[in-house]
């Protein structure tokens, strides 16, 4: 079954230069996909198109077997597809780690009694036990990155979109993130420069170049 289907998508940030002219892309259920490409090739843009915070000029986006166009369509999508931003300072805005992790589930309408368990489980999965009341902006860069993943983990999405999950990390934190990603049983898309990461965590890697996706061997 296809979870995500892009058909002839065109998109650009200015009128004269398009990032994508006719982009086609499919993510099947259970697929673990890596997207590699130079800076500015549109990796982040592709992820943002999937969750509808950017809208294509042309083409059709089909997610969970439904054509998605309006904001309302994408609201539904965002409940099931979680995007971890590249910069954790974009993602984390709550005072404490617990509150940031609870933000998504509370928005989804999860009952309060469940939330405390979710927070605990999420932190345990990240190896950050006891971080509940830490102040988010005082965390180290590696911890921020982990918590940012946690804010999406807690929403239990069916698909993860990870934007450069390992940039700016030291070897130890990088390994931790790779382990966490490997532990995900869902489908996911990772956009990254880090070929080694993609080799370890994905089955298919596409190179994004000149607004087209080409599978490459890993």
């Amino acid at each position: 079954m296809n979870i995500i289907e892009f058909k002839d998508i065109a998109f650009g940030y200015s009128d004269d230069k398009n990032v994508f002219k006719r982009l086609n892309f499919v993510l099947k259920e259970g697929e673990k996909v890596g997207i590699i490409g130079p800076n500015g090739s549109g990796k982040t843009t592709l992820l943002h198109l999937i969750v509808g915070i950017l809208k294509p000029f042309k083409g059709e986006i089909k997610i969970f077997d439904k054509v998605r166009k309006s904001e309302k369509d994408f609201k539904e999508v965002r409940k099931k597809i979680g995007l971890v931003f590249q910069n954790p300072d974009d993602q984390l805005f709550s005072p404490t780690v617990a509150e940031d992790i609870a933000f998504g589930p509370l928005n989804l309408g999860k009952p309060r009694e469940e939330i405390y368990k979710i927070i605990k489980d999420t932190l345990a999965a990240l190896g950050l036990q006891g971080f509940e009341n830490r102040i988010t902006y005082r965390l180290s860069e590696g911890e921020k990155k982990l918590v940012a993943i946690g804010t999406i983990l807690s929403m239990q999405p069916q698909v993860f979109l990870l934007d450069e999950p390992t940039t700016d990390l030291d070897e130890r934190n990088r390994e931790r993130i790779i382990d966490i990603i490997k532990g995900l049983s869902t489908s996911y898309i990772i956009a990254s420069h880090d070929m080694d990461l993609l080799k370890k965590t994905t089955n298919t890697v596409y190179r994004l170049k000149d607004s087209g996706l080409n599978p490459i061997s890993i």
Partner: protein, 249 residues
Amino acid sequence: MVKEKFSEGNSSIHKLDPRVKIITFFLFSMVVATSYKFPVIFISFLYPLSLILVSKVNLKEVLKSLLIVNAFILFLWIFLPFARGAVPWFNLGPLTVFKDGIEYATLITLKSNIIILSMITLIATSSVFSIVHALHHLHVPDKLIHLTFFTFRYAHVLYKECKKLTNAMKLRGFSPGTNIRTYRSYAYLIGNLILRSFDRAEMVYKAMVCRGFRGTFPLLYHFKMGEKDRVFLVLSLIYICFLAIGSWR
């Protein structure tokens, strides 16, 4: 740097329900600000003083904060005694010092110090975030709360960004002087910061939308008003009532 230097502590003031603190602070400062009677002002000084004793805030830090406020008040003392009043008191060279001017300046000085002191002991002894949550519970409009909240949260990020840019400038041999080039460089710096904060704001909003944000903040923790909170509230209200009666009588 944005620091919450008074919020860490374990006194009974620190542990009070922030809603109670906000209400008492609001009422107290209203009464103090509108009062024009010296005896009332002097008596109201007791309130922040006793709060300082109970909360055991760092006195040195308190004085430092007062210093900043009083630096502004200093300007009042430069102008007010000469500018305002009907009763001339004495002459200082070619200038006449008015008695009501002096009185007025004294009043303002006392009032602002009292209000700042009670602000430090009541509001600053809670973390900004519990204050923000408390405001939410007190039905302050959401927009105002979000504004306060994000200003605080991203002041930190903005400060770091600014530091990064100024460091980068210094590392390339920039030293400020009184010339057009310096002004232009600073203008670039500010322009850059504005653009960056705009971008950051947009990204944060997008990240929130991705997590199902619908315009309101769900609260994870709820406050509980306890025995101590009620006692504090009632005692403070009685005290504030006395002050109010004293100043309007």
